[in-house]
Amino acid sequence: MQANNALNYDYSVAKCFTYATILFGIIGMLIGVVIAYQLAFPELNYLAGEYGTYSRLRPLHTSGVIFGFLLSGIFATWYYVGQRVLKVSMAESPFLMILGRVHFWLYMILMIIAVVTLFLGIGTSKEYAELEWPLDIAVVVVWVIWGLSIFGLIGIRREKTLYISMWYYIATFLGVAMLYLFNNMEVPTYFVSGYGKWYHSVSMYAGTNDAMVQWWYGHNAVAFVFTVPIIAMIYYFLPKESGQPVFSYKLSLLSFWGLMFVYLWAGGHHLLYSTVPDWVQTMGSIFSIILILPSWGSAINMLLTMKGQWGQLKSNPLVKFMVLASTFYMLSTLEGPIQAIKSVNALAHFTDWIPGHVHDGTLGWVGFMTMAALFHMAPRMYKRELYSKKLMESQFWIQTTGIVMYFSSMWIAGITQGMMWRATDQYGNLAYSFIDTVTVLIPYYALRATGGLLYLIGFFMFTYNMYKTMTASKAIASEPQNASPMAA
């Protein structure tokens, strides 16, 4: 491991993406809290005229956290982890350095234009693929640059065997590339007809086919942005932070290939009882259940990595973040398959149980893991110890409370809503009008929004802690081997 310290890794691009992660995290989550409160207090829809309604803001929240916060986080960790597991510094190749910078700035320009167009209501309506075709092309360019950066670094690597995290980064790159390209196939209308707005387009697929392609994309955007790269992170950062070797290499192999094969089938569970062919729906259901195996494979592999070392949960809040992330991963990968059972889905689909499910994955698993990763990187990148352990501890508990409030209120809200939609009176007539099923949820909406607010407050604590670490914390002489140094 001496070679490790001899190399001077270049973190300039990783740092840029770290700032972007924090910036988009704040924007995306803030909008999330606003729209959550809008459901409970509709007057909040009128804060910014046309641009402040729930419906305009909702795509900004989803795209903001997925492609702003999380993608930045993935890129930040890639530019940190990639060099270290391949045992090569980016600085050894001027080409890769330039590529990294171009990657960052193009991505930032793209994100800013994306935010503006979504505010203006320019979009295709497809969830998590709202951007119009000129931006789609820009996304592809940014993505290809990232691919060049991955495979360029692999090309000059010293460590010949690709570490587990590398598999997942490669899979992220390939998976998203394929999904994004096919789901965003559209025809620009101006260039065919010569009329109207130049940036408008129409989908290549119609109706049921469009729905199938969209949820093949939509579900697997979850797979390849919310899951695969986060597993890449945890496989690097948990063993590194805790100083424990990964529990089982074979289990990691099995989980990886299992996840790759099974995930793409599961998209059909978004379309149960819709007009897509029955067999596609059933396949979606079945494969969603099978998906528990590779998902829990990774999660258990991580938890068993901590075997005999559970005391670290007490001494190191970063380990705590990662272990809870892993646990939330298990929770949401159990909850998802349950919702994918056809009879359960009949009740759960279209209700708030679904966003509830999404958020115990995103807040608990994705958010915690990303923040823990950045916390781990900070002392190594800035050569300073982490600013405050105490602050980190309070952040952990405030955010955990927020998540629990969020998903428990959404569970109750979703099931209430689903039951009321189907409830009948003694004569078999519908018992409730639709508005009854809305007004009954308002207390739960308020509770959910407050849970989200707690999480956002925790994110501000994270931001402050990171900022202080970068600027005011005590310098450290040599790079820490495992547990990140932190001031009380």
């Binding site: 690709l162 065919v192 129409v202 697929y205 119609a206 109706g207 279209f350 508005i435 809305v438």
Partner: protein, 221 residues
């Protein structure tokens, strides 16, 4: 057994891609043609309806409203006949939505009227007490983009052979013909509306977004 794969990025990447791509090919392709076939009686959207549909998308109505009636008694009682694949043959993109913060709109044209929508979009609580839907007053100010709607209709006709200008199907024709048709359709909607501003604007030849949106909503049956 496959240790060589973890040392060989090229074959590793190819392997991952094949394993990942497989499911999409197997689930989406076999029924592609079948799923694209329209049900008898389904017609493409007129240009004004398309303009309304674009406004529906612009304001992400689909963030809260689904357009998919599932085959359960509780749903058919509430919303009408369950959805058939062929009814969506001209929907580009599909607008099924993923959540019902508000009710399904697949067949809203069967039970709501122009003036109901007018009141509702201006002040939802005035017709649905307790509603949490925001008002969309800006739709009464902004002018509908008929040109882009025409562009879309022209594009799907040319590229995807959507049957405009066929017997029993909506006419599209040239841009000027389409424009005339749009004005005629819009005037019927405007006549049913109460707002003097909308009527005045229409006299000036302006079609506000709300008019196009209502044309679209009335068409959903």
């Amino acid at each position: 057994m496959f240790h060589w794969l973890e040392r060989n990025p090229f074959f590793f990447a190819v392997g991952v891609f094949l394993v990942v791509a497989y499911a999409g090919v197997v689930t989406i392709l076999p029924d592609f043609m079948e799923s694209a076939r329209p049900v008898t009686g389904t017609k493409p959207y007129t240009v004004l309806e398309l303009a309304g549909r674009q406004i529906y998308i612009k304001d992400s109505c689909n963030a809260c409203h689904s357009q998919l009636v599932r085959p359960f008694k509780s749903e058919t009682d509430r919303y009408g006949k369950y959805s058939l694949s062929g009814e969506y043959a001209y929907d580009r993109p599909f607008l099924w939505g993923s959540r019902r913060a508000g009710p399904d709109l697949m067949r809203v044209g069967n039970y709501r009227t122009t003036d109901w929508h007018e009141y509702h979009m201006l002040d939802p609580k005035s017709v649905v007490p307790g509603s949490i839907m925001p008002a969309y007053k800006h739709m009464f100010q902004n002018v509908a983009d008929i040109d882009t709607a025409y562009a879309e209709a022209y594009t799907v006709k040319t590229v995807f052979s959507v049957p405009y200008d066929q017997p029993d199907m909506p006419t599209l024709g040239t841009y000027d013909e389409a424009k005339k048709q749009v004005m005629a359709e819009a005037s019927a909607i405007v006549a049913d509306m109460k707002s003097p501003e909308i009527k005045e604007a229409f006299q000036r030849g302006e079609i506000k977004e709300i008019v196009a949106l209502i044309a679209y909503l009335n068409r959903l049956k």
